[in-house]
Subunit: 592 residues, 2 copies
């Protein structure tokens, strides 16, 4: 072993001990006849001392070292005169008697400090240097701890961790699959799993009762900032359960994580229907760290001659408590915000409630004092509040107002990263109409698409609607939402072959296609499938939420960029003709 | 919840309680006016009782149920008159008052019993039924436990579990990669990792110090009985360590697993050099549950006119203690065994030491009593022992004798599955000559090939030989062998850019190729790489060894067959033209 101790463990108790340490040179300071070096490893920093008077050649050697050199030193632990109470080893230093350079280092392309001067591209290219920074390593240590505590909780409840296969079968009805050509089965392909969905259901048919897995999943999507082509799920399934059982079990898991990882107690999580979430927040993942619920105003505002409101399908607003003092400039900013193309509102109406209770709106031409008092009543707005109103087509307007609500929450400091508001969204629609989702194969447009996935059970009381009005059918499906982020979702599954076949039919599968792709599952349902359901949590996202970050990338050791590239290893890359030949493949690049 | 208790937990203490259970109908017996049903779940069996006298219609309903029906029942716990002490619930039964069929079941294609009548093909096709069998489910529960205990041990030692990417870069110098076409980067491919080797080394460069991961790896090999295209490794790496540190740490891990999972204490593991393993066992993974070491006889047997021995490069034998009474028929069987083409010996010479100490050999024509006494001395053979000798080209003969040794070990009952003999093999050769390994690309034949992998460090004292006699260079590489199975292997890595470049050159990489494939690693070595090393255990194999089985397949929930197919889901399979087009690929099947 190249050390007797780590750089994080020596204290005043070790004074006088001979020790050997190894690590990286974090920094060096020459002060008169002394040289001080901070030696760093994963566990901490230890100060090394070299004295020109007592050992000139060793001190000269120390002065020749560069940042990030890998060193092994031997010396004696001594009490420091200038103690540093910010680090665990701050009471001691090592009087070095022997120094060996284990490896030299070039000057890194960015500084290895908590605040680095490296931009994203540089950090990703030299990720192994970026990972040396405490902030990034702490993220991955948090992830490690969360993984262990997830397992601890589920193991205690008798869940069994089962690995499901990575080389499976392409089922292109969902998002796009990554595929893997088979050399031994010429012209055929495996697919990488988007989730272990069918396998975990088969484990329930097999009587495994309670399953979990922390598992890599894959989705060939056009990437957004917070998506990765490979991602990790906490994937779970239970038998003989109803929806409430799943919600209770996994509410317990998330509470356990908050308690053990962050020391935070989470209250019982409210259940909100999808319909209410859309009505009151315009969003199926509402940030409930703050209220600011939507108030619908069609009854209140129409018929006063203001054409924008009169012609709108929906007039809806929020009340920003205490924001009445917003300046004209701030209000213009908000107007610009909602008019941005990605939000798409045509304008913003506002009304301020002054200290004396009087109300001034941006549409005073159309609404008199009495009218505006009715607005205030609708919002329960009081002195000092600011009412913000949008109007237009219902869905689009709700979506825009949801963005405005989040913006106001941020501006008013109501989205504290250290506060956590968790809830369940329930009663999702079973189906949604696909009019051309770019993340699905083009051939799937103009069909019903499963909102969760094709194995989700409809609510028994809605099953009749499947034939008459599929869009109205509610599912036994649920999402867990924390601070406006969907961290997990699942459903009670179909366990009847007939109902599953009916669903495939509604989703536009011919019975041949259904048989070819999912025949094995429907066959399994013939041999005694228990009632079952489950959930999957996005582990990368859950970690970033716990870490107080917005993007998942810094909670993944070696992430890919927005083009799906690993810029460090330079993948993907071309392969040799010999490899292509063995796989019976030819690359046909489209003509540019 | 469809139950108040599982089928494995009710005992005499619960008598009188009203309970609800759910599970599968294991079997049913009608005895006079009573019907008894064994209800099964993952946790056990519980006996249900239906009485024709007290509730005829319910009893009739019970008699109509088929095997593997999924049932939910409510009833009262009662003490049994005929207790069954073989099961945990054997003291009680449930007097059923309510019965609901949760799902019907067709008759399974094989019986769901410990000894099933299902052949391998049928079991794999209906794996979800096979997994209902206790023996198979117990294997996967063992695997679960081993995974948790592996993590417990490593977590205690401050290892951090880090997930490395699955979509990486093809490096076809090893076994064949599975590749994944990239849609977003046309004409380019990811590869699935054969191991996270370079990533775990980069984590060491990043200062992670101690890393582990239970991780899926992939190898596109022509499959053998105990290989799978995807397999799981316990993958580990440590910094600032020497070989002894790794051996101690992971000897500790395996002892911990034996202790916690099987309650077995394992003694300190001996270290055996590769050279000794080949000399004394003809095998780099010797089964040391029994001795029966090779004895080389060139000095002893040559020059007596027996041409086979005189002309052989090596004459070598084993002594099978107590086997002198083998009949002519048994000896003929052994001769046939060694002459099988996959073993390839041309014949077998034997000598029996009789009770009176006299020796009779199959070549008495050439060897007199004195000669044969010298043989006995060489083997330390005593009364009742059987000497078995092969001769021929050295390597081939050692290999054949190794097979014969294992065969004799089995025949003499010395390979008890409940006895475990662990050891380390050390000082492997760094390189081996590839004269056409079918598991490598053909273009790699006629080159040196890394015996472990190209990142393994040569022993410092052998580095000079790299230039003059690469085949003689020993590596800082080690394998853990248990009962003749290589369960894990690793090495101290190269951490110098120059030495790594030299190795790539010896392995036949042009410096362009080395740069293209591994430039990122050599670049990382410029920024302060610590000395480091690691190991990977074949987790599937370790589980099967702990489970006392020869094949790994029953320790994998959904394994593939010998053609790499999942016969249950029917993968791999063809994909649509739309998918191929999006990937810029064309399938070109070779003409038959």
């Amino acid at each position: 072993m190249h050390r007797t101790h780590t750089c994080g463990e020596l204290t005043i108790k070790n004074v006088g001990q001979a020790v050997t340490l190894s690590g990286w040179m974090q920094r060096s300071r020459d002060l008169g006849g002394m040289t001080f070096i901070d030696l760093r490893d994963r566990y901490g920093l230890t100060q090394l001392v070299f004295n020109m008077e007592s050992n000139a050649s060793l001190c000269e050697q120390a002065r020749s070292l560069g940042r990030e050199y890998v060193l092994q030193i031997t010396g004696t632990v001594a009490e420091r005169s200038n103690k540093n109470n910010k680090i665990a080893t701050g009471d001691i230093e090592i009087i070095v008697t022997y120094l060996q350079i284990l490896n030299k280092a070039q000057l890194p392309p960015f500084t290895i400090e908590d605040d680095t001067d490296g931009g994203d591209d540089l950090r990703m290219k030299y990720r192994y240097l970026d990972l040396r920074r405490n902030v990034v390593r702490n993220n991955l240590q948090l992830r490690h701890l969360m993984a262990q505590e997830t397992r601890n909780y589920l193991n205690t409840l008798n869940f069994i961790e089962v690995e499901t296969p990575v080389l499976i079968k392409s089922t292109p009805e969902g998002a796009r699959d990554f595929v893997v050509p088979s050399r031994m089965n010429e012209g055929e392909f495996y697919a990488l799993p988007q989730s272990p969905q069918t396998f975990k259901q088969l484990l329930m048919v097999a009587g495994f009762d309670k399953y979990y897995q922390l598992v890599k999943c894959f989705r060939d999507e056009d990437l957004r900032a917070d998506r990765q082509p490979e991602f990790t799920q906490i994937d779970c399934e239970m038998s003989f359960v109803e929806q409430e059982d799943i919600l209770n079990t996994f509410e317990g898991m998330v509470k356990h994580l908050f308690k053990t990882v962050k020391g935070v107690d989470i209250a019982t999580m409210p259940h909100m229907t999808y319909a209410d979430a859309m009505k009151f927040y315009g969003n199926d993942k509402p940030d409930t760290r703050f209220e600011m619920k939507f108030v619908e105003l069609n009854e209140t505002v129409k018929g006063k001659g203001f054409k924008v409101f009169d012609e709108a399908e929906l007039v809806v607003g929020i009340c920003a408590t205490g924001a009445a003092e917003y300046t004209r400039k701030q209000l213009d900013e908000l107007t610009d915000f909602v008019k941005r193309p990605q939000i798409g509102a045509t304008g913003l109406v506002y009304a301020r409630v002054a200290a004396d209770g009087s109300i001034k709106s941006s549409v005073d031409k159309f609404y008199n004092t009495d009218d505006l008092q009715k607005w205030a009543t609708a919002f329960s707005a009081g002195s000092g509040d600011l009412i913000l109103i949008l109007a237009g087509a219902a869905n689009k307007t709700r979506k825009a107002l949801s963005e405005l609500r989040l913006e106001m929450g941020s501006r008013l400091g109501m989205r504290d990263k250290n506060k956590f508001s968790c809830l369940w969204i329930v009663d999702f629609p079973l189906l949604e109409w696909n009019d051309g989702d770019p993340n699905l194969l083009a051939s799937l447009a103009g069909r019903w698409h499963a909102k969760h996935h094709p194995f989700t059970s409809p609510k028994p009381e809605d099953i009749e609607l499947l034939k008459t009005n599929p869009g109205e059918v509610r599912a036994n499906a649920y999402d867990m939402v924390i601070n406006g982020v969907e961290v997990g979702g699942g459903s009670i599954r179909i366990h009847s072959k007939e109902l599953q076949a009916q669903l495939f039919e509604i989703l536009g599968f011919s019975s041949d296609e259904a048989q070819k792709q999912f025949g094995f599952l429907m066959k399994a349902f013939e041999f005694g499938a228990p009632p079952h359901g489950g959930i999957a949590f996005g582990f990368d996202r859950l970690c970033s939420l716990f870490g107080g970050a917005d993007v998942i990338r810094d909670f993944i050791a070696f992430p890919k960029n927005n083009s799906g590239r690993d810029v460090m290893i330079d993948a993907p890359s071309s392969i040799t003709d010999e490899q292509l030949n063995e796989l019976s493949l030819e690359v046909k690049l489209p003509e540019k």
